[in-house]
Each structure stands twice: as C-alpha cells, then as structure tokens.
Symmetry: C2
Amino acid sequence: MLILITYDVSTLSSAGQGRLRRVSKICQNYGQRVQNSVFECIVDAAQFAELKIKLNSVIDPTEDSLRFYQLGNNYKNKVEHVGIKQSIDIEGPLIL
Amino acid sequence: MLILITYDVSTLSSAGQGRLRRVSKICQNYGQRVQNSVFECIVDAAQFAELKIKLNSVIDPTEDSLRFYQLGNNYKNKVEHVGIKQSIDIEGPLIL
C-alpha cells in the first residue's frame, strides 16, 4: 500500500535539518521524497508498523509534526501533480 | 471526500510567501491547514475541480510543486498524527 508521510519541522535550526535528513533517509528505504517534507512509501502492514517506530524515534514530538496517510493499494489514480517535480535539495551542502 | 493538498514553494522569497498565503486562503475555504504546506479539504467532485482551477491560477508552475491526494470518504482511520498539532504561523507578521 502507499503511505504518504508529511513532516513539519523548522529547518532553520541545524538540529531540525538533521532530523529532516534522518526522516528522509528512513523514508527513502521504503519509497521516495516527492516534496521537501513529503514522502511516498510503498509498504505492507508490517513495514508500515516498523517505519512508524523508526520515525517516532527520530522526531522531536515537542517540536515536529508527523502525519501518515494510507492511500491503499489502488493509489495510482488518486495522486495528481502540478508544477515542478524537483524539490529544493535541502540535503545538499549548505553554503553560508 | 477528503483531499490532501501538499504544496512546496520556497518561502524565502516574499513572492513565494505570498503564493503560500493565497494557497492557504483558498484551501481554508474548503478545509484546514494541518502543517505548514499541507492542507486537508472536504469536497465533492465539483468542488475538487473548482479548487484545482483556483490553485492552478495562483501557483507558479515553474517554481512550485502542488500535489493532490484523494483519500475518499472513509478517511478517518487512514490518517494518523504524531507530535505537535500547531504548525508555525508563517502567515503572521514577519519581523525583520
């Protein structure tokens, strides 16, 4: 099934950037990043449970917001995209 | 049905902030903001078509990324939340 994960964290702090990087890394083992803080993961029920445990151990629940949406197995006609495909590479080197 | 709208725009520019503000205003006529760039809207098929037309007229497709996810009518057990509920108020006054 397709799971959509949306993650809200202030990336103005380096700790927040680090958490977003770790969330992204975990999600990319199961799927892909489609926007800066939006990840689409293809998982079964066991992997979904595992993914939630991993993400919960990374985020700061007093600062971050994490949402999971279950799109089911027939998700292809439930998703539409407009505009650019590439999100800003906030994992790239930070030039100050 | 529940439509999830995720919107990726660089809010570092004032033009980007303005577009996010306009996207938020349109979405809030149909639902609510749940994260900085994530909106949940309850619409029927006609309203969904109308909403897409409105949003497409606001965004810059060469800079922004807009995604629509259809969660259907039985969405209540398809959504899970972890962490803080309140997103950062990026619509508030900008103090420089």
